[in-house]
Amino acid sequence: MRVFFAETIEETESILKDSNITEFIAGGTDVQDRVNSGILKGNLLNISGVDELRGISVEDGYYRIGALTTISEISKNKNLKEYEGLLKALRIIANPQVRNVATIGGNILQKNRCWYFRNPHFKCLKKGGDKCFAREGDNRYHAIFQKGACVTVHASTLAMILKAYAASVELSDGNILSIDELLGDGSDPTRDNKFPKGKLLAAVHLPKIPRPEKSKYFRLIKRELGEWPTIELFGRTIVERDVIKEIVLTAGAVANIPIRLTEVEDLLKNEKLNKDLFFEAVDISVKDAQPLEKNKYKIPMFKNSLLNLFTQLFGDYS
């Protein structure tokens, strides 16, 4: 177990080819946590000094956010002011010390927080084992929408938000993956995403907002701050003369990948704001939910969280 260093993309690629690298170190906040607990073994490649992966540039149709740009750097970027919900999320994720070093690339590719996965005593599907301990165990913080054998929830708030923007990511070899291609469909229980192995994430492409919109982020936690979400939601909308012209809704901490609430969007789109419609919408939002033994409470909480998001997006109609 040792750490390699790369200072350029080229070096990174060549070390990836020659050495058996298990994971990258960028901000290191997730990696070191797993090294500390003993669940991450193997060689690491420290890319935190690859400066070309840092910074935000304005491109034609999108903002290019270098993979090593930190959460707090992004939150301070003046170009991104229109992304109201994103900026809110960037101020809630983790805590200030973590946001100072944690990168957007690391946030998207981080490992899940399942307490069986994080516990060195359980060899679960994601650690080469043959079962998901949470499925039959204490799953109060786990998925209510089932996508595969692993019932953890995806850990990345930013992935959920980027999904709402249909963002894409750029690999160092120039290839572009949509956020959905990167996240996959959750069916592979051994991985948290479908990022191609042996590749380097270079940047995130955040599409520009074509016309002014409202966006909101909501996180359900027990305490006031500094806690991983039990449920999180993101919404973008354009309302004209009380009619919902555009709406995109994504949800996190409810499935092993971020999900989009397409049916809810379809119900709301081009409809006039109205309370009954919102109640109908939250009812269909959990139509496909399959809660586990200990997380049934998440169903009403999901509906109420969505109602809360509607209040944030549309005012007191709900």
Partner: protein
């Protein structure tokens, strides 16, 4: 090799290591940054890296390459403190101090940014401060003062050299500068690492272990077995053996090599399942005497009445037969009414930020110096000597700074047993520390419980009788006494009180700040609130109607006049966000040790106090200093307080809220003696009078400052506390609360009825614990009690996997303790009278101030929503609106 700069000094380090930045920093001897959560949640390890704060525990050391690091040690010099440090001192924004360096680094970073962006007198609001410090946790609950300190410092109140700073806390400077060396920070050259190997099975008999193979491993020096006599492990994590190894890397080899043959037995984890007649048995018929003792003080006698159920003799019943008769034949015709409800509380983990840690140093001749994070240096020296069969004088226990205990460090635990025994055997120093996982998994709990309460009221709304049944869940432990406190509530009203221990294959409970009382008072105070509602009585009036305790009645009357209570809404509720106000009261027995002695030594350098107590963050050192200052008009810099050393005069364990009640009067007596002795030594027969200001002679007056300067020899006295005077009428006085401290709290909670979120917004806490010696510190203790109570009520729950017996809440991400932003505005009122029979009129208060919090929160939620919380923690997982 890589390079970095730490506090302006260049360092080379090997950058292919997978260690953390914190490892490197602490190895350099910079121990201000603490390892607490080891997962980036608590901020105790925060430093500045290139001007931004980072958590070094989750910063790979390789990320330090070419970076500039500034640790807490660099923010002050020997003669100057940063304004933020002054603010922390002046506002007493700390208790045990273990989290303090992290808070200070973050607050200074915030201060610099704030001051660069805002005009001189502009101060941040609570929300801004809470956000800035949201990555820091303090278990003592010094949060209210942290708000104040950061607010005032950012307003520029501590800029410049002239600012006035009051040193409320004796050791605040050491704590805000990172200089305080806790047991955790002590390393002895060539020390061995003691590693405890724990059972992976919840229930098994240990047959054979390949000890010889382990001992033959390179780097393994010695090994001791830690199994009980029946060689049975009854919970995951039970200590099997401890090895002394040369370095941490050997531990991996031990884990890879160890082979243990187990005879696996069936087990039970769920507290309710364990009560079924078919449940696996934790202790067999002949093993019951081996049951782990979880009691604080003495184990209540009892008898086993089921496979895993033990009935305790509580002695808390009064006229039990009559109570049963009343309760089973409710006389509704005369207006009697019966109220019944069940309540449930969860296991709470102490979560002291300094883990259990012991460094035992063999110093030759079968003698040990033991550095131990403990709540009782004196008692531990006794216990270690007994455990190792050594003469008492061969064992010295030291604990100068203790990073929180809350009851988990009251008794002799395995980390100390392992370190001491291995040290004696190897002739070396041996260090054993708990990881955060061990701390949260096996460091102890406040037992959870199921409680069934029945209250019977008369037509006059007086209490006629009640019954209280408690099932306590202390893992493999028994005797987690919850109900004795009920004995002295409500005079002679007939009552039948039962307590049952239910054992399971989980690690045992340990004493915890008023051990079972928060459980009992949550149930009791909730059902009283129900009664008040049903009888259409004001909840305070109803309590005044029932309660005979003089001091509590005073507090209830004052609580009634609080703004919160007077303006609370009792009408119908329909809004999404509802505010509710609840009241709750509690009593805690008054204890003291008459044996405590304090030595005072006066010399031309000042006055030194020595006693074998310890300061776990409550401020015992400051209380001694302040007491001396009440008798000698000298600057505090001339007073030296030495505690945390078992070699000093007889002390007392910091438990049962008895440190102050036992120590204060010994110091008072010693001060009076010392005044006389100094005067006589210097002036013989010329002394007319001694007073606080100095010595009056026939011709002149000498201040104490001058008198001390004249001393060319040491003058010393040793005084003990002694016994209290006996009551005139013991029974009546006890029923009137003369033997208890008490606390009444009024709490406001804002409920988001859509999301079932609860935010405690305001708390008024009225305390009757006799005279207050050090006001600022006492107030801080109350804050801590309130905040730990909030955690207990709303967030904290130790969770197990029931199929494997492993605890799941083994980090500070999943075990949720209150944060700064969960802190309400807290107002404290001290009613200082009422204990004239107590020597010095001083009682302790740490425990009583946390007991009623959960009840008051539940009652506030009921007031807001009309729904009665009956299960803790109250959260969206179990509270359906």
């Amino acid at each position: 090799m890589c390079q970095c700069k730490i506090n302006d000094e260049n360092f080379e380090f090997s950058c292919d290591s997978t260690g953390s930045a914190l490892d490197l920093i602490r190895e350099k001897g910079l121990t201000g940054a603490k390892r607490v959560c080891n997962s980036g949640v608590c901020g105790a390890c925060a430093v500045e890296m290139d001007g931004e704060t980072v958590n070094t525990c989750i910063t790979p050391v390789s990320n330090l390459k070419s970076k500039e690091i500034k640790t807490i040690e660099a923010f002050s010099s020997s003669d100057s403190l940063h304004p933020m440090q002054k603010a922390f001192i002046d506002n007493d924004a700390l208790q045990c101090g273990f989290c303090t360096p992290g808070f200070v680094v973050e607050s200074i970073n915030f201060y610099n940014k704030w001051r660069s962006e805002h005009s001189a007198d502009e101060a941040p609001n609570r929300e801004t401060i809470a956000e800035a410090l949201s990555g820091h946790l303090c278990r003592c609950g010094a949060y209210p003062n942290i708000y104040t300190a950061v607010h005032r410092a950012c307003a520029g109140e501590y800029d410049g050299d002239s600012s006035d700073v009051t040193y409320h806390r004796y050791d605040a400077v050491e704590k805000v500068t990172g200089k305080a060396k806790y047991t955790y920070d002590i390393n002895i050259e060539n020390q061995l690492i003691g590693y405890i190997y724990r059972s992976p099975h919840p229930h098994a008999i240990v047959k054979k272990i390949n000890y010889e193979e382990l001992l033959s491993l390179e780097g393994v020096i010695d090994l001791i077995e830690l199994l009980p006599t029946d060689r049975t492990v009854r919970f995951v994590g039970k200590e099997i053996f401890a090895v002394a190894v040369e370095s941490k890397s050997v531990i991996d080899k031990v884990n890879e090599t160890v082979q243990v043959d187990y005879e696996i037995k069936s087990f039970v984890i769920d507290d309710r399942e364990a009560q079924e007649s078919s449940a696996p048995q934790v202790y067999g018929r002949l093993e019951k005497k081996l049951a782990h003792d979880s009691a604080e003080g003495f184990l209540p006698p009892g008898r086993w009445i089921g496979r895993n159920i033990r009935s305790c003799l509580t002695m808390a019943s009064t006229k039990a037969k009559k109570a049963l008769e009343f309760l089973s034949n409710v006389d509704t015709e005369s207006g009697d009414r019966l109220f019944e409800k069940t309540f449930q509380t969860s296991a709470q983990v102490h979560t002291a930020l300094e883990p259990h840690v012991c460094i035992a140093e063999y110093i030759g001749n079968n003698e040990l110096n033991v550095y131990l994070s403990t709540q009782g240096v004196d008692a531990m020296a006794d216990e270690i000597a007994k455990n190792l069969d050594l003469p008492r004088e061969n064992v010295k226990v030291f604990a100068e700074y203790i990073g929180g205990g809350f009851g988990s460090k009251l008794s002799l635990n395995e980390e100390a047993i392992a370190a001491c025994r291995l040290a004696i055997r190897t002739g070396c120093a041996v260090r054993v520390e708990y990881s955060r996982e061990e701390e949260l998994a096996y460091g102890g709990i406040r037992a959870g419980s199921d409680m069934r309460v029945s209250l019977l009221t008369e037509a006059s709304h007086h209490l006629k009788a009640f019954s209280f049944d408690t099932y306590s869940y202390s893992g493999v432990g028994i005797g987690y006494a919850c109900v004795p406190y009920l004995k002295h509530e409500y005079g002679n009203v007939p009552r039948v009180v039962n307590e049952y221990d239910v054992v399971t294959n989980k690690s045992p409970g340990r004493p915890f700040r008023a051990p079972g009382a928060p459980n009992v008072y949550f149930a009791l105070e909730s059902i009283i609130d129900d009664v008040a509602y049903e009888l259409n009585e004001d909840p305070i009036d109803l309590r005044l109607n029932w309660d005979l305790h003089d001091n509590k009645r005073v507090l209830l009357e004052i609580a009634k006049e609080t703004d919160m209570w007077k303006t609370r809404n009792t009408g119908p509720k329909s809004e999404r966000f509802m505010k509710g106000v609840g009241v709750a009261a509690a009593t805690w027995p008054y204890w003291y040790s008459e044996e405590v002695k304090v030595e005072l030594i006066a010399s031309s350098y000042g006055i030194t106090a020595k006693t074998a107590i310890q300061d776990i963050g409550t401020g015992s050192k400051s209380i001694i200093r302040d007491t001396i200052r009440q008798h000698f008009d000298i600057p505090e810099t001339l007073i030296n307080v030495l505690v945390g050393n078992s070699g000093f005069e007889k002390g007392v364990t910091s438990g049962g809220s008895m440190t102050t009640s036992s120590t204060y009067y010994a110091v008072v007596k010693a001060c009076r003696e010392l005044q006389k002795n100094i005067a006589e030594k210097l002036f013989r027969d010329d002394v007319k009078e001694v007073s606080f200001s100095g010595v009056s002679l026939s011709e002149e007056f000498i201040s104490w400052g001058d008198a001390l300067k004249l001393l060319n020899v040491e003058v010393s006295v040793i005084e003990g506390r002694g016994k209290d005077t006996i009551f005139d009428n013991k029974v009546i006085d006890t029923l009137r609360g003369k033997n208890s401290s008490c606390n009444v709290v009024v709490t406001e909670v804002e409920v988001d009825t859509l999301l079932n979120k609860f935010k405690v917004t305001r708390v008024w806490s009225g305390v009757a614990a006799g005279k207050i010696v050090s006001r600022k510190l006492a107030e801080n203790q109350v804050f801590g009690g309130v905040i730990q109570g909030i955690g207990y009520a709303l967030f904290e729950e130790k969770i197990y996997d029931n199929r494997y017996g492993y605890p799941l809440t083994t980090n500070l991400e999943t075990y949720k303790i209150p944060t700064l932003s969960d802190t309400p505005e807290i107002e404290v009122f001290f009613h200082e009278g009422g204990f004239s029979h107590v020597k010095g009129n001083v009682l302790g208060l740490a425990e009583v101030v946390t007991i009623p919090i959960a009840g008051s929160i539940g009652n506030a939620i009921f007031n807001a929503t009309g729904k009665r919380p009956t299960k803790l923690p109250i959260s969206f997982e179990n509270f359906n609106n």
